[in-house]
């Protein structure tokens, strides 16, 4: 009978991070992954012989610095590249690029408005301020404030203390950022439309919010999540992992084994073994049973409880509440192998910001319309298109001179108002997106060697994410912090003893890549009498 200290179900970035932290703390941990390769949504594939690319995600990395150093990922083969933040193209032949260098960014903003070039200083300051206070919040476990434990009480006092010492105007600023709509918030900084469109499109990509939705402004600060005070004063950088997100997953897998843990791929967990209302282990699809003192699930909340447990064994009303947890797909993925580098005549030759990707920006009203279409389950008419050509900076991904292009299309509904996605619907959608890109890049269509289109239902069936929701639960204010995944389930605990949630459905979710994994590892290690040391929250 196989036995471990802890079992992690699912090899997504959170599960891998949790297992790696546990293994480093000396816990005998086993990670079980259904697919052949690790990574889940981060997985890569060969779209065409010799063309490797991220299959489900755009391909930029947001793995926090402290995870990389804590888990010694460079030792396990991980290498990063920092590039400029990308280019936004507008239909009228205008473009806006993000540069990391402060002076370059200033010159770029001056092209649009001299005033906006100055306003950038204030915008950047406010975003960094918000980001730093959020980082402090992410660094500590999120306790349920209604629970009368000493730790929760202490945390509550600490928060109250922090709020009390904040000058009132700073609180006003914080409230504005967390409640205002993105478009109106940007109006209070910038005058030039393209700057606002660029920032809004960048911030809202992949969220379930439109530019005029209340509380959508807070996504702007996520753009600065990896930014440090000492950086050059320009726009935030895009970070690419050499080899794509798959390389991050592989390095985390190597780290687990390097720290003495175990990884098993191509085995699917079908059940959690319960005894006396507590989790004792897992049962695999082939009937094998593995036992452990703690079981962590890297599946989203719905899949975890609706697929791994007999519903009758769950507390009364819990299944119903799990069912009401909002998970909504917004993003489709189009993968392309290209015979050459597409040209974008609007952008000056050799613009370094193109390495950070490009998006087809649109006026706020049109973006809002795209969001409305998504909300009413219309087939996308003007979706938000974001693309990355990772082979521009990582030449190992495609044969020399050829490229792969990863296209993420946002505001794509999971279900259409008149039925499901059919193959012909998908073909129309692919044509629409490729047509939009071709409008900015003459001859683009002729460069395509291979195409793959994945709409949210495809992502659900391939990755296992309910509704194809990459956030693993909508990041609306009612499903965040101590309310994530739902009231009463803070701090990675579940109604089942010894069973913990380490997927993005728990806090901090999409706020920090691998953050839930690291937090859950801390919680589980404490339960097992071990200590996980992470450098979360310590200034980078």
């Amino acid at each position: 009978m196989e036995r471990h200290d802890a079992i992690v179900i699912g090899g997504g970035l959170n599960g891998l991070t949790a297992a790696a932290y546990l293994a480093r703390a000396g816990v005998d941990v086993l990670l079980v992954e259904r697919n052949e390769r690790l990574g889940s949504a981060a997985a890569g594939f060969d779209i065409h012989p010799g063309f490797r690319m991220p299959r489900f995600t755009l391909g930029t990395s947001s793995l926090p610095h402290h995870t990389v150093t804590d888990l010694e990922l460079p030792k396990f083969g991980l290498r990063f590249m920092r590039v400029d933040g990308g280019v936004s193209l507008l239909a009228d032949g205008c473009y806006h690029a993000s540069y990391r260098d402060g002076l370059m960014m200033r010159r770029e903003l001056t092209r649009h408005s001299l005033k906006d070039a100055d306003a950038w200083t204030r915008f950047r300051r406010d975003m960094l301020r918000a980001q730093f206070s959020l980082r402090d919040a992410l660094a500590q476990p999120m306790h349920d404030p209604s629970r009368r434990s000493l730790a929760a009480f202490r945390a509550l006092l600490g928060n109250a203390d922090q709020l009390a010492i904040k000058p009132v105007p700073d609180l006003h600023d914080m409230t504005r950022l967390w409640t205002m709509s993105c478009a109106e918030f940007l109006d209070s900084y910038f005058t030039s439309d393209i700057v606002k469109m660029h920032l809004a499109a960048k911030a809202l990509a992949g969220t379930t919010f439109g530019p005029y939705s209340p509380s959508s402004a807070r996504f702007l600060m996520n753009l600065f999540s990896a930014e440090t005070e000492g950086a050059g004063g320009g726009a935030p950088a895009s970070v690419l992992a050499m080899g794509g997100p798959q390389a991050v997953a592989d390095a985390l897998g190597a780290a687990i084994e390097g720290f003495g843990g175990h990884v098993r791929t191509e085995s699917e967990v079908t059940d959690v073994i319960l005894r006396d209302g507590k989790a004792r282990g897992v049962a695999l699809a082939d009937g094998e049973e593995i036992y452990a003192d703690a079981v962590l699930s890297d599946l989203d909340l719905k899949r975890t409880f609706l697929a791994l447990f007999p519903w009758k064994d769950l507390p009364k009303g819990f299944v119903e509440r799990v069912g009401r947890f909002r998970m909504r797909g917004v993003t489709a993925k189009i993968n392309l192998a290209l015979d050459g580098l597409p040209a974008f005549p609007v952008v000056p030759d050799d613009c370094p910001a193109l390495q950070g990707g490009l998006r087809l920006a649109m006026p706020m009203e049109k973006l809002e319309q795209a969001f409305d279409d998504w909300r009413s389950h219309m087939p996308p008419r003007t979706p938000l298109i974001e693309a990355l050509i990772p082979s521009m900076s990582d030449r190992s991904l495609a044969p020399l001179g050829k490229h792969v292009m990863s296209v993420a299309v946002h505001y794509v509904p999971e279900v259409l108002h008149d039925g499901a996605w059919t193959q012909s619907r998908k073909d129309d959608f692919t044509d629409l997106v490729i047509g939009e890109i071709t409008a900015h890049s003459p001859g683009f269509k002729d460069l395509i060697l291979a195409t793959e289109t994945l709409v949210p239902p495809d992502i659900e069936s391939e990755v296992g994410l309910t509704a194809g929701d990459f956030e693993q639960g909508e990041m609306s204010l009612d499903q965040m912090f101590f309310n994530r995944p739902m009231p009463g389930l803070a701090n990675y605990e579940t109604p089942i003893g010894n069973f913990y949630l380490c997927s993005g459905s728990a806090h901090p979710g999409a706020l920090e890549t691998g953050g839930t994994g690291a937090g859950a590892a801390q919680r589980v290690a404490a339960a097992l009498g071990r200590n996980v040391i992470t450098r979360r929250g310590v200034g980078i």
Partner: protein, 451 residues
Amino acid sequence: MSDDTKLNSIVEPPPLVADVNDANTTPRPPPVPRLNLAALDEISRADPALFEDRRADPPFSRQVMTTPLHFYVASESLTNLWCNWNGYTVADQLTSLDDEYAALRHGAALADISPLVKYRISGPDALAWLRRLVTGNLVSLSVDEIIPVVFCEDRGLVVGDGLLFRLGDSEFRLVTEERHLAWFMDSAIGHNVRIEDVSKTLAAMSLQGPLSCAVLSEAGFSGIENLRCYTAHWFNVTGMPVYVSRSGNSGDLGYELWVDPDDAPAFWLRLLDKGKAYGVKAGGFALREIARIEAGIPRAGVDYLGAFSAVDPQSALTPFELGFSALVDLNGEHFTGREALRKAKTLPPRYILATLAVDWSAPLTFAAIRDGSGVAGIATSTGFSHALGINLALATLRPAAIADGAVLHVQAEVREELSLRVISAAARILAGPAVLLPARHLVPAPLVTRR
């Protein structure tokens, strides 16, 4: 530039040549503004040129920004040492810091200060807007006078500081270290005022030192000795108009010349030529820095952070904490941040900016100022004063560090080849700037005849 010519047709320019004695001894009749409001409105509305990028090369291409004087400064360089000032490539040292310093304190030092940010503020409400913007009292500021100003946001935290020139009845120039156009334009809503960044269309050079007046006099600026401190005057030298202000940040007698970029090289060469006998030398940015540290003048972005760039709210300071108390008039008219500053005045300061002397005969590198209990403050600018033989620092200190009997010291690492010595040197707080010479205020300014 086209804007300036357009405006000249609207606002009568001041006379280019005038008798300085006359201007300063007898009260000057108030200039009669000949404002054509309709025309002014017209150009205020249609001003796309201000927001247009006139350069064809993309932002990411290699760009070395140089001042109009760059090639003339470069030809003085014996060291090939350069630095970045506000994005411009300027000389750090030209000959050697010792020689340049000797010229500054015993002759006169000429420097290119064109990278400073210059705003032209005009329009019927220019004065009204400026009164709301700056903390000081502008009531007594008449034409051709200058006043150092500081401006705050609503919370009473300093956004920036600068030098305000009154060029005409409703025309001003504000010279700052950092750019503030966004704040200026936001706060100007509701005022009939026009704010332009004229940094690129105006060259500037400074001539500082005990013999600077003599050099200018020799170069043809007749009557310059009668110019009072913080006043300015138009001169016409060899047919070129130049606006000369008696200002500077060396703590000594000094002048600054504001001139058309096309004429700047001629003045630069003329001053070097005519000043040869007086020991005039061209100086670089390092000299400017040590001079201002000796004079105890904080620099925006270095010694303090503007309220809109400080990420930690605790890093933004009030004028009282920065030693700008004299520039704040709480009893005058309303200005942005007045209520907050009234309140701040009743509270003990969180920090105090002070000049610190560290007695050590060689330049030291240090940041932390320590007292018995730990770090008492941070040195934001440090420099070695050759004349005084001490290390000077502008430091932001906790008030406790200034209390009587507080013993301060700094720790510095001195590298000697492959070994390292950690020294601890005593630091003392100076009551005022290290160098502040009475010649700044003397009228007539000392004119030394050629030896």
